[in-house]
Amino acid sequence: MGNLRQALFLGHGMATATLGNLRIASKRHPRIESAMAERAGVISELDDINELVRLHQARIRRFVFCSTGDPDLADTITQDTLLRAFRGRESFRGDCSLSTWLTGIAINVTRDHLRSGRFKFWKQLKATAIDVHEMASFLPSEGISAERRVLAKERVKELYAVLETLSYNQRTIFLMKFSEEMSVEEISEMLGMGVNTVRTHLHRALKAVRSKLGATL
């Protein structure tokens, strides 16, 4: 953790310098100024490991858990992702949002785990069934009747069950699109796939979802 503290210390200095640059650039065009302020904010966010964890840990963990189906592995990958992001924060160019950049790192870390064969994707349904029930019970209850809540829980469980049946690529792309709200182009670029390939994966995933969730879709 000594290195991390040192990195944190250095990172603080860099944020100050960035803010210094922002003051110098304050006479520029408002749009440029706004973009620079946004970037400065992101860099500042990246410089503080605690802030990075606070703002992004749950989202990355959710993505990796739903993608791999393994909560323990999701913890490990989330931790590795945030650490890699922090250590490699100099390489963040601001071409995409910080969330998208972090999701890309999480996908790479997951791929590394997949290649090394350190875990098996998607354990048996029995092993994860408890998590699904538990997850479904975390639905917000404000303003929802008990009956609607029961129905909503069923829908969550059904959608999760469908995701389990998808291939890793289909599931990951589905989550990138509908949970991470990334565009098809962003997914295509991040995964190194053609736009049409991404589209095909999404079509297959949606077909499976539609067949499971019934005639309403």
Binding site: A58, R59, R61, C66, F138, V156, H203, L217
Partner: protein, 163 residues
């Protein structure tokens, strides 16, 4: 009053709308067709429920801190070093055993082991003991064969031959 259509969006066109790649015709149909719009809204509502539940669940799970990659690397390196040391020890033992049970070599036949130097008293004692042994085993009685002096002849023959 929203018109109802006898034909709705095809599955592919519907999925393209969900993906965000809907054609202008699909978008126009969606704007006008209440049924298709309800289907799209139902899908997004289900996904929103799933996202909300999974996020709330994730936020409530205790985070298990694990050793970082660097620590894992150190652990792996330590394990490698220990395995290498064990292997080296085993190889060393195998070499020793092989030398012990292996073919007799000149060095094995004449081991280069330093012996303590014999003292003169010990040498004299050993000589006395050897003489006593010789006296004990040497025949006192003359053999019947001695009268033929075979051994003397043989010894003299050997001496002449050597000369």
């Amino acid at each position: 009053m929203t018109p109802t259509y006898s034909t709705h969006l095809s599955e592919e066109a519907f999925d393209d709308v969900l993906i965000g790649l809907g054609s202008p015709e699909s978008e126009a149909h969606l704007a006008a067709c209440r049924d298709c719009r309800l289907r799209v809204n139902a899908f997004h509502a289900d996904v929103a429920l799933f996202n909300s539940a999974s996020m709330a669940w994730t936020e409530n799970q205790p985070v298990l801190l694990r050793p970082t990659a660097r620590k894992t690397f150190h652990r792996t390196r330590l394990a490698f070093v220990s395995w290498a040391a064990t292997a080296a020890a085993l190889v060393g033992m195998a070499v020793v055993v092989w030398h012990h049970d292996g073919p007799v070599t000149p060095s094995r036949a004449t081991p280069n082991v330093s012996q303590p130097a014999d003292t003169e008293a010990q040498i004299a004692q050993d000589n006395q003991l050897l003489q006593a042994v010789n006296a004990a085993i040497s025949p006192n009685d003359e053999s019947p064969v001695d009268e033929y002096k075979l051994f003397q002849k043989r010894h003299s023959h050997l001496k002449t031959h050597h000369k």
